[in-house]
Protein backbone atom coordinates (compact mmCIF):
# COMPACT_ATOMS: atom_id res chain seq x y z
CA UNK A 1 0.00 0.00 0.00
CA UNK A 2 1.38 3.41 -0.94
CA UNK A 3 2.16 5.94 1.73
CA UNK A 4 0.52 9.34 1.43
CA UNK A 5 2.68 12.44 1.61
CA UNK A 6 1.78 15.39 3.76
CA UNK A 7 3.56 18.75 3.69
CA UNK A 8 5.44 20.04 6.68
CA UNK A 9 3.97 23.42 7.66
CA UNK A 10 7.37 24.54 8.95
CA UNK A 11 9.67 23.77 6.01
CA UNK A 12 7.36 22.58 3.19
CA UNK A 13 9.16 19.24 3.11
CA UNK A 14 7.40 15.99 2.27
CA UNK A 15 6.32 13.90 5.27
CA UNK A 16 5.26 10.31 4.61
CA UNK A 17 2.15 9.00 6.33
CA UNK A 18 2.28 5.24 6.80
CA UNK A 19 -0.92 3.31 5.93
CA UNK A 20 -1.75 2.79 9.58
CA UNK A 21 -1.30 6.44 10.57
CA UNK A 22 -4.06 7.78 12.77
CA UNK A 23 -5.49 11.25 13.25
CA UNK A 24 -3.85 12.85 16.27
CA UNK A 25 -0.62 10.94 15.86
CA UNK A 26 2.60 12.89 16.31
CA UNK A 27 5.19 12.61 13.53
CA UNK A 28 8.56 14.22 12.96
CA UNK A 29 9.48 15.99 9.74
CA UNK A 30 12.50 14.17 8.26
CA UNK A 31 13.96 17.44 6.98
CA UNK A 32 13.60 19.97 9.78
CA UNK A 33 12.71 17.72 12.69
CA UNK A 34 9.51 19.61 13.54
CA UNK A 35 7.00 17.64 15.64
CA UNK A 36 3.77 17.50 13.67
CA UNK A 37 0.27 16.42 14.56
CA UNK A 38 -1.77 14.57 11.96
CA UNK A 39 -4.95 16.61 11.52
CA UNK A 40 -6.42 14.48 8.74
CA UNK A 41 -5.46 11.47 6.67
CA UNK A 42 -7.33 12.08 3.44
CA UNK A 43 -6.27 14.56 2.35
CA UNK A 44 -3.12 14.48 4.46
CA UNK A 45 -2.94 17.47 6.75
CA UNK A 46 -0.27 18.22 9.32
CA UNK A 47 -0.04 21.02 11.85
CA UNK A 48 2.68 21.88 14.36
CA UNK A 49 2.25 19.67 17.42
CA UNK A 50 1.43 21.50 20.65
CA UNK A 51 4.56 22.32 22.58
CA UNK A 52 4.97 20.61 25.93
CA UNK A 53 4.16 23.34 28.42
CA UNK A 54 3.73 23.57 32.13
CA UNK A 55 0.11 23.81 33.15
CA UNK A 56 -0.38 25.03 36.65
CA UNK A 57 -4.04 25.78 36.23
CA UNK A 58 -5.91 28.60 37.84
Amino acid sequence: MNMANGECPECAGAVSLAPNTEVGEILSCPDCGARLEVRSINPPSLVPAPKVEEDWGE
Binding site: P9, E10, C11, A12, G13, S28, D31, C32, G33, A34, R35
Partner: protein
Protein backbone atom coordinates in the same frame (compact mmCIF):
# COMPACT_ATOMS: atom_id res chain seq x y z
CA UNK B 1 36.63 1.30 -20.75
CA UNK B 2 38.02 3.24 -17.83
CA UNK B 3 39.58 6.63 -18.52
CA UNK B 4 43.33 6.77 -18.15
CA UNK B 5 44.32 9.66 -15.89
CA UNK B 6 47.47 11.26 -14.53
CA UNK B 7 47.92 13.41 -11.46
CA UNK B 8 50.55 16.14 -11.61
CA UNK B 9 51.82 17.22 -8.21
CA UNK B 10 50.44 14.20 -6.43
CA UNK B 11 52.63 14.33 -3.35
CA UNK B 12 50.67 17.02 -1.48
CA UNK B 13 47.60 16.53 0.66
CA UNK B 14 45.30 17.50 -2.20
CA UNK B 15 47.00 15.12 -4.60
CA UNK B 16 46.98 12.31 -2.05
CA UNK B 17 43.29 12.76 -1.38
CA UNK B 18 42.53 12.87 -5.09
CA UNK B 19 44.53 9.68 -5.57
CA UNK B 20 42.54 7.97 -2.81
CA UNK B 21 39.25 8.67 -4.57
CA UNK B 22 40.64 7.98 -8.04
CA UNK B 23 41.93 4.54 -7.09
CA UNK B 24 38.46 3.54 -5.90
CA UNK B 25 36.65 4.96 -8.95
CA UNK B 26 35.32 2.28 -11.29
CA UNK B 27 35.90 4.38 -14.44
CA UNK B 28 39.33 5.75 -13.65
CA UNK B 29 42.67 4.12 -14.28
CA UNK B 30 45.43 6.14 -12.62
CA UNK B 31 48.40 5.53 -14.87
CA UNK B 32 50.86 8.06 -13.53
CA UNK B 33 51.45 10.36 -10.59
CA UNK B 34 54.16 12.98 -10.60
CA UNK B 35 56.33 14.66 -8.03
CA UNK B 36 59.70 16.27 -8.57
CA UNK B 37 60.70 16.04 -4.92
CA UNK B 38 59.61 12.45 -4.34
CA UNK B 39 60.35 10.99 -7.78
CA UNK B 40 61.08 7.28 -7.54
CA UNK B 41 59.32 6.80 -4.23
CA UNK B 42 56.16 4.76 -3.82
CA UNK B 43 52.93 6.68 -3.37
CA UNK B 44 52.30 4.74 -0.19
CA UNK B 45 55.41 6.23 1.41
CA UNK B 46 53.54 9.52 1.66
CA UNK B 47 50.03 8.07 1.77
CA UNK B 48 50.11 5.12 4.17
CA UNK B 49 46.32 4.85 3.96
CA UNK B 50 46.75 3.60 0.37
CA UNK B 51 48.86 0.55 1.27
CA UNK B 52 47.48 -2.42 -0.59
CA UNK B 53 45.60 -0.25 -3.08
CA UNK B 54 48.36 0.87 -5.45
CA UNK B 55 51.84 0.07 -6.67
CA UNK B 56 52.28 3.51 -8.23
CA UNK B 57 55.46 5.48 -7.67
CA UNK B 58 56.02 9.16 -8.31
CA UNK B 59 57.76 10.16 -11.54
CA UNK B 60 59.12 13.53 -12.66
CA UNK B 61 56.62 15.41 -14.78
CA UNK B 62 59.01 15.32 -17.76
CA UNK B 63 58.42 11.55 -17.89
CA UNK B 64 54.67 11.99 -18.17
CA UNK B 65 53.39 9.91 -21.06
CA UNK B 66 51.07 11.52 -23.55
CA UNK B 67 48.52 8.73 -23.55
CA UNK B 68 46.04 9.86 -20.92
CA UNK B 69 42.43 10.97 -21.25
CA UNK B 70 42.54 13.42 -18.38
CA UNK B 71 45.08 15.25 -16.27
CA UNK B 72 44.59 16.55 -12.76
CA UNK B 73 46.91 19.37 -11.75
CA UNK B 74 47.55 19.67 -8.02
CA UNK B 75 50.42 22.11 -8.00
CA UNK B 76 50.58 25.57 -6.42
CA UNK B 77 49.36 28.56 -8.40
CA UNK B 78 51.57 29.78 -11.25
CA UNK B 79 53.03 26.28 -11.64
CA UNK B 80 49.54 25.03 -12.48
CA UNK B 81 49.23 27.51 -15.35
CA UNK B 82 52.43 26.22 -16.93
CA UNK B 83 51.08 22.68 -17.07
CA UNK B 84 47.71 23.82 -18.35
CA UNK B 85 49.54 25.64 -21.16
CA UNK B 86 51.61 22.54 -21.88
CA UNK B 87 48.67 20.15 -22.14
CA UNK B 88 45.72 22.28 -23.26
CA UNK B 89 46.44 21.98 -26.98
CA UNK B 90 46.79 18.21 -26.80
CA UNK B 91 43.03 17.91 -26.32
CA UNK B 92 43.32 16.07 -23.03
CA UNK B 93 40.72 17.05 -20.44
CA UNK B 94 42.23 19.08 -17.63
CA UNK B 95 41.03 19.52 -14.07
CA UNK B 96 43.19 22.18 -12.47
CA UNK B 97 43.12 22.27 -8.68
CA UNK B 98 45.43 25.26 -8.50
CA UNK B 99 44.07 28.80 -8.31
CA UNK B 100 45.31 29.81 -11.76
CA UNK B 101 42.09 29.55 -13.77
CA UNK B 102 39.43 30.29 -11.19
CA UNK B 103 39.28 33.99 -11.95
CA UNK B 104 38.03 35.15 -15.34
CA UNK B 105 39.68 38.56 -15.15
CA UNK B 106 43.45 38.74 -15.47
CA UNK B 107 43.58 42.05 -13.59
CA UNK B 108 41.75 40.54 -10.62
CA UNK B 109 44.15 37.61 -10.76
CA UNK B 110 47.08 40.04 -10.76
CA UNK B 111 45.64 41.87 -7.75
CA UNK B 112 45.32 38.71 -5.65
CA UNK B 113 48.18 36.57 -7.04
CA UNK B 114 50.59 37.93 -9.64
CA UNK B 115 50.65 38.62 -13.37
CA UNK B 116 48.94 35.71 -15.06
CA UNK B 117 51.47 33.76 -17.14
CA UNK B 118 48.88 32.64 -19.71
CA UNK B 119 45.89 34.99 -19.68
CA UNK B 120 44.88 33.85 -23.18
CA UNK B 121 43.68 30.57 -21.66
CA UNK B 122 41.43 32.13 -19.02
CA UNK B 123 38.50 32.29 -21.45
CA UNK B 124 38.56 28.51 -21.84
CA UNK B 125 38.25 27.70 -18.16
CA UNK B 126 34.99 26.86 -16.40
CA UNK B 127 34.70 27.50 -12.68
CA UNK B 128 34.32 23.99 -11.34
CA UNK B 129 31.52 24.32 -8.84
CA UNK B 130 28.99 21.83 -10.23
CA UNK B 131 26.11 23.24 -8.22
CA UNK B 132 26.50 26.48 -10.21
CA UNK B 133 27.99 25.42 -13.54
CA UNK B 134 26.96 21.82 -14.15
CA UNK B 135 26.06 22.20 -17.82
CA UNK B 136 29.18 24.21 -18.69
CA UNK B 137 31.40 21.69 -16.94
CA UNK B 138 29.93 18.88 -19.03
CA UNK B 139 31.27 20.57 -22.19
CA UNK B 140 34.53 21.91 -20.78
CA UNK B 141 38.09 20.95 -21.67
CA UNK B 142 39.52 22.91 -18.77
CA UNK B 143 37.87 23.07 -15.36
CA UNK B 144 39.25 25.14 -12.50
CA UNK B 145 38.38 23.63 -9.15
CA UNK B 146 37.26 26.26 -6.63
CA UNK B 147 39.09 27.10 -3.47
CA UNK B 148 37.99 25.25 -0.37
CA UNK B 149 36.95 28.32 1.61
CA UNK B 150 35.25 29.71 -1.48
CA UNK B 151 33.25 26.52 -1.88
CA UNK B 152 32.08 26.69 1.73
CA UNK B 153 30.93 30.30 1.31
CA UNK B 154 29.55 30.43 -2.24
CA UNK B 155 27.28 27.42 -1.83
CA UNK B 156 25.25 28.72 1.15
CA UNK B 157 24.98 32.23 -0.31
CA UNK B 158 24.14 31.47 -3.95
CA UNK B 159 20.48 30.48 -3.43
CA UNK B 160 19.72 33.53 -1.32
CA UNK B 161 21.49 35.91 -3.70
CA UNK B 162 19.64 34.41 -6.65
CA UNK B 163 16.28 34.71 -4.90
CA UNK B 164 17.11 38.31 -3.84
CA UNK B 165 16.36 37.45 -0.23
CA UNK B 166 19.44 39.14 1.21
CA UNK B 167 21.33 42.39 0.93
CA UNK B 168 24.43 41.94 -1.22
CA UNK B 169 26.39 44.54 0.71
CA UNK B 170 28.20 43.92 3.95
CA UNK B 171 28.12 40.14 3.83
CA UNK B 172 30.52 38.78 6.45
CA UNK B 173 31.89 35.24 6.40
CA UNK B 174 33.78 33.86 9.37
CA UNK B 175 35.52 30.57 8.64
CA UNK B 176 37.31 28.01 10.76
CA UNK B 177 39.63 25.75 8.85
CA UNK B 178 41.74 22.68 9.54
CA UNK B 179 45.51 22.59 9.26
CA UNK B 180 45.56 20.33 6.18
CA UNK B 181 44.44 23.35 4.15
CA UNK B 182 47.94 24.72 4.69
CA UNK B 183 49.35 21.93 2.56
CA UNK B 184 51.98 19.30 3.17
CA UNK B 185 54.79 21.84 3.31
CA UNK B 186 55.75 23.21 6.68
CA UNK B 187 57.19 26.27 8.36
CA UNK B 188 57.16 27.84 11.81
CA UNK B 189 53.41 28.53 11.58
CA UNK B 190 52.66 24.83 11.22
CA UNK B 191 55.12 23.70 13.86
CA UNK B 192 53.31 21.64 16.50
CA UNK B 193 54.12 23.80 19.55
CA UNK B 194 52.93 26.86 17.68
CA UNK B 195 49.81 25.24 16.34
CA UNK B 196 48.64 23.13 19.28
CA UNK B 197 45.67 24.70 21.03
CA UNK B 198 45.75 27.69 18.73
CA UNK B 199 42.96 29.66 17.12
CA UNK B 200 44.63 32.02 14.67
CA UNK B 201 43.12 34.61 12.42
CA UNK B 202 45.62 34.54 9.60
CA UNK B 203 44.09 36.79 6.96
CA UNK B 204 41.44 39.08 8.47
CA UNK B 205 40.66 40.63 5.10
CA UNK B 206 41.75 40.33 1.50
CA UNK B 207 42.07 36.53 1.44
CA UNK B 208 42.58 35.32 -2.11
CA UNK B 209 39.43 33.26 -2.13
CA UNK B 210 37.42 36.46 -1.67
CA UNK B 211 37.99 37.20 -5.36
CA UNK B 212 36.31 34.04 -6.60
CA UNK B 213 33.51 34.34 -4.04
CA UNK B 214 32.66 37.81 -5.32
CA UNK B 215 33.11 36.76 -8.95
CA UNK B 216 30.61 33.93 -8.69
CA UNK B 217 28.03 35.68 -6.51
CA UNK B 218 28.18 38.84 -8.62
CA UNK B 219 27.48 36.76 -11.73
CA UNK B 220 24.41 35.28 -10.07
CA UNK B 221 23.27 38.67 -8.85
CA UNK B 222 23.91 40.49 -12.13
CA UNK B 223 25.64 43.24 -10.15
CA UNK B 224 28.54 43.43 -7.72
CA UNK B 225 28.32 41.52 -4.47
CA UNK B 226 30.63 42.47 -1.61
CA UNK B 227 31.83 39.79 0.80
CA UNK B 228 34.28 40.14 3.68
CA UNK B 229 35.85 36.88 4.75
CA UNK B 230 38.03 36.12 7.76
CA UNK B 231 39.48 32.62 8.10
CA UNK B 232 40.82 31.17 11.33
CA UNK B 233 43.20 28.27 11.56
CA UNK B 234 42.04 26.02 14.37
CA UNK B 235 43.15 22.78 15.94
CA UNK B 236 41.53 20.41 13.47
CA UNK B 237 43.18 18.50 10.62
CA UNK B 238 40.32 18.40 8.14
CA UNK B 239 37.22 20.48 7.73
CA UNK B 240 35.85 23.95 7.25
CA UNK B 241 33.06 25.57 9.20
CA UNK B 242 31.89 28.84 7.71
CA UNK B 243 29.40 31.09 9.46
CA UNK B 244 28.05 33.77 7.15
CA UNK B 245 26.16 36.80 8.42
CA UNK B 246 23.73 38.52 6.06
CA UNK B 247 20.81 40.93 6.28
CA UNK B 248 17.33 40.08 5.10
CA UNK B 249 15.84 42.31 2.41
CA UNK B 250 12.37 41.77 3.81
CA UNK B 251 10.62 39.92 6.58
CA UNK B 252 11.35 36.25 5.97
CA UNK B 253 10.12 33.04 7.53
CA UNK B 254 12.01 29.79 7.76
CA UNK B 255 9.83 28.26 5.12
CA UNK B 256 10.98 30.92 2.61
CA UNK B 257 14.57 29.84 3.10
CA UNK B 258 13.72 26.15 2.91
CA UNK B 259 12.02 26.78 -0.42
CA UNK B 260 14.88 28.89 -1.78
CA UNK B 261 17.51 26.32 -0.85
CA UNK B 262 15.49 23.35 -2.06
CA UNK B 263 14.74 25.04 -5.34
CA UNK B 264 18.38 25.95 -5.98
CA UNK B 265 19.87 22.60 -5.01
CA UNK B 266 17.38 20.28 -6.67
CA UNK B 267 19.56 17.85 -8.61
CA UNK B 268 22.65 18.61 -6.51
CA UNK B 269 23.23 15.38 -4.61
CA UNK B 270 26.15 16.58 -2.53
CA UNK B 271 24.36 19.45 -0.83
CA UNK B 272 22.42 18.54 2.31
CA UNK B 273 20.20 20.97 4.16
CA UNK B 274 20.80 20.61 7.88
CA UNK B 275 18.44 22.49 10.15
CA UNK B 276 16.89 20.09 12.57
CA UNK B 277 14.79 21.00 15.57
CA UNK B 278 15.43 17.80 17.50
CA UNK B 279 18.81 16.17 17.13
CA UNK B 280 22.16 16.93 18.71
CA UNK B 281 23.40 17.88 15.24
CA UNK B 282 20.93 20.70 14.58
CA UNK B 283 23.22 22.68 12.30
CA UNK B 284 26.11 21.80 10.00
CA UNK B 285 29.48 21.05 11.50
CA UNK B 286 32.62 19.54 10.02
CA UNK B 287 32.71 16.14 11.70
CA UNK B 288 29.77 14.55 9.85
CA UNK B 289 31.22 15.60 6.48
CA UNK B 290 34.86 14.68 7.08
CA UNK B 291 35.98 12.18 4.45
CA UNK B 292 32.96 12.89 2.24
CA UNK B 293 32.08 15.10 -0.69
CA UNK B 294 29.07 16.59 1.05
CA UNK B 295 28.44 20.24 1.77
CA UNK B 296 26.05 20.64 4.69
CA UNK B 297 24.16 23.93 4.85
CA UNK B 298 21.93 25.30 7.59
CA UNK B 299 20.74 28.65 8.89
CA UNK B 300 18.89 30.51 11.61
CA UNK B 301 16.80 33.64 11.31
CA UNK B 302 17.38 36.44 13.78
CA UNK B 303 14.15 38.35 13.36
CA UNK B 304 14.98 40.88 16.03
CA UNK B 305 18.11 42.02 14.21
CA UNK B 306 16.90 41.31 10.66
CA UNK B 307 19.79 38.93 10.09
CA UNK B 308 20.24 35.45 8.76
CA UNK B 309 23.08 33.40 10.19
CA UNK B 310 24.09 30.79 7.62
CA UNK B 311 26.32 27.85 8.46
CA UNK B 312 28.13 25.54 6.09
CA UNK B 313 30.53 22.66 6.60
CA UNK B 314 32.72 20.77 4.15
CA UNK B 315 35.87 18.66 4.20
CA UNK B 316 38.47 20.99 2.71
CA UNK B 317 40.29 18.08 1.08
CA UNK B 318 37.18 16.47 -0.44
CA UNK B 319 34.40 18.88 -1.45
CA UNK B 320 37.05 21.57 -1.07
CA UNK B 321 39.47 19.97 -3.55
CA UNK B 322 40.01 16.26 -4.40
CA UNK B 323 36.38 15.13 -4.25
CA UNK B 324 35.13 18.12 -6.17
CA UNK B 325 37.79 17.39 -8.80
CA UNK B 326 36.37 13.88 -9.20
CA UNK B 327 32.85 15.31 -9.36
CA UNK B 328 34.00 17.58 -12.20
CA UNK B 329 35.76 14.70 -13.95
CA UNK B 330 32.52 12.71 -13.80
CA UNK B 331 30.55 15.52 -15.40
CA UNK B 332 33.19 16.16 -18.09
CA UNK B 333 33.07 12.51 -19.09
CA UNK B 334 29.32 11.97 -19.01
CA UNK B 335 29.39 9.84 -15.87
CA UNK B 336 26.99 10.01 -12.98
CA UNK B 337 28.09 12.95 -10.86
CA UNK B 338 28.10 10.72 -7.78
CA UNK B 339 30.27 7.99 -9.29
CA UNK B 340 33.04 6.96 -6.91
CA UNK B 341 32.03 9.61 -4.39
CA UNK B 342 28.79 8.41 -2.88
CA UNK B 343 29.62 7.43 0.63
CA UNK B 344 28.80 8.71 4.12
CA UNK B 345 31.32 9.84 6.67
CA UNK B 346 32.19 8.23 9.98
CA UNK B 347 30.18 8.46 13.14
CA UNK B 348 31.38 8.80 15.76
CA UNK B 349 34.66 10.32 14.72
Amino acid sequence: MAKKVAIIGASGYTGGELLRWALMHSEMDVSQITSERFAGQAATKLNPNLRGFTQLAFTPVKELKNDVDAIFICTPHKTGAQYVKQFFETGVKIVDLSADFRLHNKDTYAKYYQEHPHPDLLQHAVYGLPELHREEIKKAKLVACPGCLATSIILPLAPLVKAKLISVEGIIADSKIGSSAGGAGFDISTHHPERQGGVRSYKPHGHRHTAEIEQELSAINGAPVSVGMTPHGIEMVRGIMSTVHVRQTGKLADIDLWKAYRSFFTGSPFVRLVKDQQTLYRYPEPKPVVGTNFADIGWELDQEKGRIIIMSAIDNLVKGSGGQAIQNFNLMNGFDEKMGLWQPGFHPL
